[in-house]
């Protein structure tokens, strides 16, 4: 518990340092930093509407993708391809949503979500096969498939899935029944609740289940896990990676059925990459991912407002995200150093 509070403190400090550096940078560049930060705050937390409709809506994909990234990395596999899996999920969800005419919502909504999950997992299938069969690193294959997915979306919205008039590069709108209901009368869709449930479920899997325990063992000591005879590494990583892809696909499905109601190019402002930071900052802990997901979503939501209200390019906020990650990594390194100085050296160990 104390270590959790400590981690929270470090995170808050990192955020403050990041915002401070942003303010200094803006002042030096001749902007009014005070007004900029005020706009950032207003855009993220200024009103109930902003908090739910801007911040929490963006938190949904960040949390889901972050959870999936953590799931794979706990077992020692790096899924850098969430962006691609997100788009795969979005394509499948949009296709189902457009063709769900006449379905009741209780059929259409699960169908859309399942389509997203399945497409995300399917997009991960090739990296998994290449990894198990030929030992190709998943870092490379998942990353490269991002470009394929983006090109596929581009092709879809200008080809097979283009809206009937054929003018705009987007799909037809999905039917009403396939749109997620809103929560608390705001623009926040029900996908947020699902994201929280997934976080809870994953926390339980890691802490309490035999499978989750073995996955952690595989990530922390791959040789020992295999020699113990309890872990079949290939199979376990395949399952973890497929779920990782599925969660990113679900995020894509929710973005279509809860926010955009159609498939667009550039549907994701880089959620697949931002979520890596979200998961790493949370040290892969599901409950913490919810928190860091909301924080990063707030930064992104505030960035939009800052651009609109103070005329400052939204990308300036990436400085804050970057600084937060750097500060926390430095804090980790310092903590490790301290720990290794305190640790008892193993008797037969070489340094």
């Amino acid at each position: 518990m104390r270590s959790n509070l400590r981690a929270l403190g470090i995170g808050a400090a990192a955020l403050l340092i990041g915002l401070f550096l942003l303010a200094v940078g803006l002042e030096l560049a001749g902007y009014d930093a005070g007004a900029a930060l005020a706009a950032l705050w207003d855009g993220a937390f200024g009103s109930w509407r902003a908090f739910t409709g801007a911040t929490l809506v963006r938190a949904v994909p960040l949390i889901l993708i972050g959870l999936g990234f953590a799931l794979a990395l706990r077992g020692g596999a790096l899924n850098i391809g969430a962006e691609g899996q997100f788009y795969a999920g979005a394509i499948a969800a949009a296709w189902v949503g457009v063709h769900a005419g006449g379905w009741p919502a209780w059929v259409a909504l699960p169908a859309v979500a399942l389509a997203g999950l399945a497409a995300g997992a399917l997009w991960m299938l090739l990296p998994v096969i290449l990894k198990l069969r030929f030992g190709v690193l998943e870092v490379i294959t998942t990353l490269l498939l991002n470009f394929v997915a983006e090109a596929l979306v581009s092709f879809m919205v200008q080809g097979p899935m283009q809206e009937p008039s054929g003018i705009y590069p987007q799909s037809a709108p999905i039917v009403e029944a396939a749109r997620l209901p809103f929560l608390f009368g705001s623009r926040l869709h029900a996908g947020f609740v699902v994201a929280l449930l997934v976080a809870l479920a994953l926390a339980w899997v890691f802490a309490r289940t035999w499978w989750g325990f073995r996955l952690r063992a595989l990530g922390e000591g791959p040789r020992a896990a295999e020699v113990s005879g309890r872990v079949r590494a290939g199979r376990m990583l395949a399952v973890a990676l497929l779920w990782s892809g599925a969660l990113a696909g679900l995020a894509g499905a929710f973005e279509v059925s809860g926010v955009s109601y159609a498939l667009y190019q550039n549907l994701s402002p880089g959620y697949g990459f931002t979520a890596i930071g979200v998961a790493l900052l949370a040290r892969l802990r599901p409950s913490a991912i919810v928190l860091t997901g909301v924080v990063f979503a707030a930064l992104e939501a505030g960035a939009g407002a800052m651009q609109r209200d103070a005329g400052i390019p939204a990308v300036a906020v990436y400085v804050v995200e970057g600084v937060v990650i750097l500060v926390l990594l430095l804090g980790d390194a310092a903590a490790r150093r301290q720990a290794s100085r305190r640790a008892v050296p193993v008797v037969d160990g070489s340094p």
């Binding site: 325990f213 000591g221 020992a224 020699v227 005879g229 050296p345 008797v347 037969d348 070489s350 340094p351």
Partner: protein, 486 residues
Amino acid sequence: MLLTLTGISKSFGAVQALRDVDLAVAAGEVHAVLGENGAGKSTLMHIADGLLPPDTGTVAVDGRPVRFRSARDARGHGIGMVHQHSTAVPAFSVMENIALAAGWAVAPTRLRRRVEALTERLALPLDPSLPASTLSVSLKQRLEIIKALAAEARVLLLDEPTAVLAPAESEELFRFVRRFTQGGGGVALITHKLEEALAVADRITVLRRGAVVLSSPRSEVTAEGLTTAMIGGSLVVAPPAVPLRDGPVLVQCEGLEVRGDGGRGLRQASCTIRGGELVAVAGVEGNGQRELLRAVAGLTRPFRGLLEVARPVAFVPEDRTTEGLIPSMTLTENVVLGVGRAASWVTGRGVRRVDWSAARQRTAELADRFDVRSDGTEATAGSLSGGNQQKLLVARALERRPRVLVAENPTRGLDLQATAEVHGRLHAAAAAGAAVLVYSNDLDEVLVLGDRVLVAAGGVITEAPAGIDRVRLGAMILGQGGPDAE
């Protein structure tokens, strides 16, 4: 005095590893440091080598106090350390490794001449251009010694140097040690082997629980006195169990062939092990015994031949912290991993769950029963000393109630008391009806432990005749005089 450590104390958190320890290495002298696991031998050597700073106390070279900030600092003062395991870069050649350690320029022609001059001066021949990865264990150690001495070291710290060597190779090492001391150098030898200390040391210091309990010239001590000092009482030796000769056959192999990782592997093994038997395998590393053990443990698939093993099988790997325990995980988690899903704390059918409080409780019981000393069940396995790690590994293996127990070098690097305890556990497992298969590169251990002895030479496993002695067994493992050896 070449090297003097005075009043050294060192704590790690709540654990006091060293308390007011004095140690002096004189020119021309071999000073053996004997002690139990966790007695502080390695910590003391790490302080002497600059890898750890002492909390209090001073290190002096030639009587002048020094403060080392790194091993490189210590090397600059003429102190070289030979670690138990190779620290060479495998992809580098011998001379590149030496250049790396000594900070020499790497221009090949000059470097080769310099290295050749060095190996000649030390009378430790070693081809400078061989890649380190191709060296045998004993040549790797030779490389470590050359590295340590490259910068004109006058004090050599040897950490359990014979743990990885065959008897003849140990002899050769000690001949070098004597030459080195006759040339005016001083040696600190960490060992847990009494006979070794008695055979080569001029002076012996015994550490127990971080403090010096005895320090005398060799001529004034006896084996009994040293044993008592080391363990603070007389040694507990488990009486060997009477083997059940007519137990059921639990391991059977016939014409077994197993491919090795790069080496020749196992070419031919036929053997039968019954319940209640403890079978020990002797051999120099890389002669097929590793493949035999791992095939029996179910970790490697045989290439050809018949292999039948009763289940469950438990395996105690030689490498405690890579293949055995996961250092970053807790004692409980390591036990849970090793015992597997048949354990009582794994519950539920569809989604199996782990009842951590039950697992913790059982781990605490095991730690108590096997005398694993730690800061509790939630301490990380990496925080344990080597002996305690080994006891935890054995405890965890036996918790599976195996019908076949396989162990590789189960007492490597352990002190007398821990060795006796591990031996007792292996005997007890056999007495309880398990078939126990052990490999050790220590011939004495093979002879003490085995009801029967198998010999691995050139990838072929043969059975040694009953009542074989150390000398004949030593010849057999080198492929001389065995019935089927080339």
